[in-house]
Each structure stands twice: as structure tokens, then as C-alpha cells.
């Protein structure tokens, strides 16, 4: 049921596998390329955000999580704020690339494209406890931090426009009566709301039930296409 839309792996998990991890204490102090270290620290930041939340995430915790020393983060990122921005940017890029790939794989049929976009949202590589928790941590701080705002809603204006265009196309071919913008807003809001439930760890919501709910919406809104 939950087919993987794209086999994308996070580059960082690859990077981690060739560098120091908790077990390899003897590798501490080894030099690694700048990009590898940065990814390693970004992954450790996501870990910390997921485990402790935004407010409790400290530089020391990130460094410990990466198995490196205290001063290292400032060397690679200058400041805590820049580390967090880089982390957010990393997650944004990953999400962005993921749905674009999914859209491409769907081919030319608009109904299929919309279905693939919905599936992409619940793909394991994107939609897992660790990353959802990190997203939520950023969302909580986004409104009061101008720097975060542009990046913090993973679904940006362009993504929204794609949804609107797809809804408009389906409306024509199916003879539905609603405004494309309105139904697109309802749909994308529901996807975010389902994410929110998954993040909060409410018992009654799992990736499977969330996907069911999303499909129920599609069937209700576009009965000719998903009936």
C-alpha cells in the first residue's frame, strides 16, 4: 500500500557511514572534508531537535551527538544561529527535491500527479519521527524569527501553485464546481495537519491511517478521478 515513490536517500546518512560515529572513538580527531563534517553536524542537530526540542538544543549536545569536541561547531558554522539555518535549509532542500522527483515520476496524467504528490508526503524518507519532530521544532520558532520564515514552511508558494494548477485541471476534466485555489488550500492544509498529528505522536494516527485520510479526501473531492 505504501509504495516508495522515490528511492532517495539522505546524503548525510551516507556521509555519516564513512565518518566517525559513536562506536568509532579512535576516529575522533581525524580530519574529514568540510562538507562531510557539515553534514555530520547537521544530522546531529536534527537528532537533538527531535530529542530535546528547539529550546533545549545546545551546541554541546550537537557536538556530543556527532562525537566531536565543543568548539567544532563554531569552526564550521560560525554561530549557533547559522548552524540552525543551515539545518533548516538542508531539510527544506531535501523536501523540495523529494516532491519534485515524485511529480516527475508521475508522468503526464494530472490525477496521477496529484496522487504521487500525496504519496510523497508520507514517504518514509521524509515522513519519520525524527524529521517531523525537527520540522515542528522549527515551526514553533518560525513566526518570531524572520530568518526562518521563508524556509520553515516546507511547502512553499510554488508547491502551492502546483496544487492549484492540478486542481484546476481536474476540475475541467471532471466537471467539478469548486474554486481550484480553495480546494487546493483544503488539501494542502490537510496534509500539513496530518503531519502535525504524526509529529505529536497521537496514538490514533499512523502513517497508514494518515494516508487513508488523505485518500478519502481525494475520493470525496474528485470522485470521477479517484472513485
Amino acid at each position: 500500500m505504501l509504495e516508495t515513490v522515490t528511492p532517495m536517500k539522505t546524503e548525510a546518512s551516507d556521509a555519516l557511514s564513512e565518518t566517525a560515529q559513536k562506536g568509532d572513538a579512535e576516529k575522533r580527531g581525524r580530519k574529514a572534508s568540510k562538507e562531510v563534517r557539515r553534514l555530520q553536524l547537521i544530522e546531529a542537530t536534527i537528532d537533538s531537535l527531535a530529542k530535546r526540542g528547539y529550546a533545549e538544543t545546545t551546541m554541546a549536545d550537537v557536538a556530543d551527538g556527532a562525537g566531536l569536541s565543543r568548539g567544532i561547531v563554531n569552526f564550521h558554522f560560525e554561530s549557533k544561529e547559522k548552524l540552525l539555518i543551515a539545518t533548516l535549509q538542508h531539510m527544506y532542500d531535501e523536501y523540495s527535491a523529494h516532491w519534485r522527483t515524485a511529480l516527475q515520476k508521475a508522468g503526464d496524467d494530472p490525477a496521477r500527479q496529484l496522487q504521487y504528490l500525496v504519496w510523497a508526503d508520507f514517504d518514509r524518507s521524509i515522513c519519520n519521527k525524527r524529521k517531523l519532530a525537527a520540522w515542528l521544532a522549527f515551526w514553533g520558532e518560525a513566526k518570531s524569527r524572520p530568518t526562518y520564515q521563508a524556509l520553515s514552511s516546507s511547502r512553499d508558494a510554488y508547491y502551492q501553485q502546483v496544487f492549484i494548477d492540478l486542481c484546476a485541471t481536474l476540475k475541467e476534466s471532471g466537471g467539478y464546481s469548486y474554486e481550484p485555489q480553495v480546494i487546493a488550500l483544503a488539501l494542502s492544509a490537510m496534509l500539513e495537519g496530518l503531519w502535525l498529528r504524526l509529529m505529536m505522536g497521537t496514538e490514533d494516527t499512523t502513517r497508514e491511517t494518515a494516508l487513508q485520510a488523505a485518500n478519502a479526501f481525494l475520493a470525496a473531492a474528485f470522485p470521477k478521478h479517484y472513485g
Copy 2:
């Protein structure tokens, strides 16, 4: 279009109007009843959460916002954590009372009850920038703080059950084909997702457009009742 379902006012805003505010510097040092002070400090906490976010909310900022001295919060709440829990509890109680009142005012017709619940979610007294921002601030920390978890999803298990029951009733009378739990999850997730959009301050989403989207969902899912 946006009719006020309930004329409820926050007790705290009443309380504030009879106690010291920024202008009345001469009233500083005056004693006030315990309950009034607590509400005053809780309101100042919501202000701070909305303005600065969770991580940047400090005891000093709360005290300044209330026009009182630094040590006062510990006197009334013992610790910062207890102040935040009391604030969350206050918001939870307010939300809870609000939707229950709305449900009561709807009368016996299930379609009307569901419509009133949806309206209640976008009522100004609940759904305004200040309070939404405070909710989001708590959500961001909820997963990593067990104490927050029970209170942080304003829509609790009972609320969800009411939705499911209403969907089940509508299904029978309208001859729809989906599972009530699934469509109820889709609906409540969409409401939360719309809140999220409003919180984030995305330009294309206002209280009016959010309500339109919610109504579009109702019309799509229950055409016999809201067509």
C-alpha cells in the same frame, strides 16, 4: 459570514482592565487578589510567547510585560515551568469551553452541529494571531516534554470522538460510503492544518479563506447536507 458562535470573553482581559497596566505606574506595588495576578501573568506569558517564541520567552520579559517586578512570577507560580504549564492549561480550558458551547448552541441537527464546530474553530476569540502563535510555540516543544503532551493538542480524544460520531450519523442519513473515523481524521487534520497556515502568517491564508476551504471540504464530503 463569520458569525460569532459564542460571545465568550477571556476572563483575563476583564481582570486586566481593573488592575495595573503599563500606564498606571502609580498602581505598582498595590496588592491584587491571587487569581487576578495569576491571570495577568498568564496573559503576559501568552504575549511573550507570541512575540518572542518559546525559546526566547524569559521570566524578566513576562514580568516586564505585566508591569511587575522580577521576583513576582516565582511567588505566584513557583517556577518558570509551572507558569508555562498553567498558561497552557488556561488556553486548553478556553478552547475546550468554546467548542462545547458552540456544540450546545447548534441544537440537535448533526449537520448543524458539525458546521458550528467548524465555525467555532475560526472564531475571533480563539483564532487570532496572538493565541495561535502561543499554541504553535507550545506545539514545538510538546513532543520533547511529557508534561505538555496531554494539554498541547487542544483538540483532544473526546473532541475527536465527537467528530467521529457526527460523521457516522451523517453517513447513515446521507448514504455516504467512507469510514467515519477516516473522514473525521481528514476533517480535523484539515482544521489544524488551516490553523497552522494562519499561525505561520502565510499571505494567501486569512480567516476568511480558511473558512472557505473548510466549507469546501464539508460540501465535498457531505454533498447531501452541505451542497
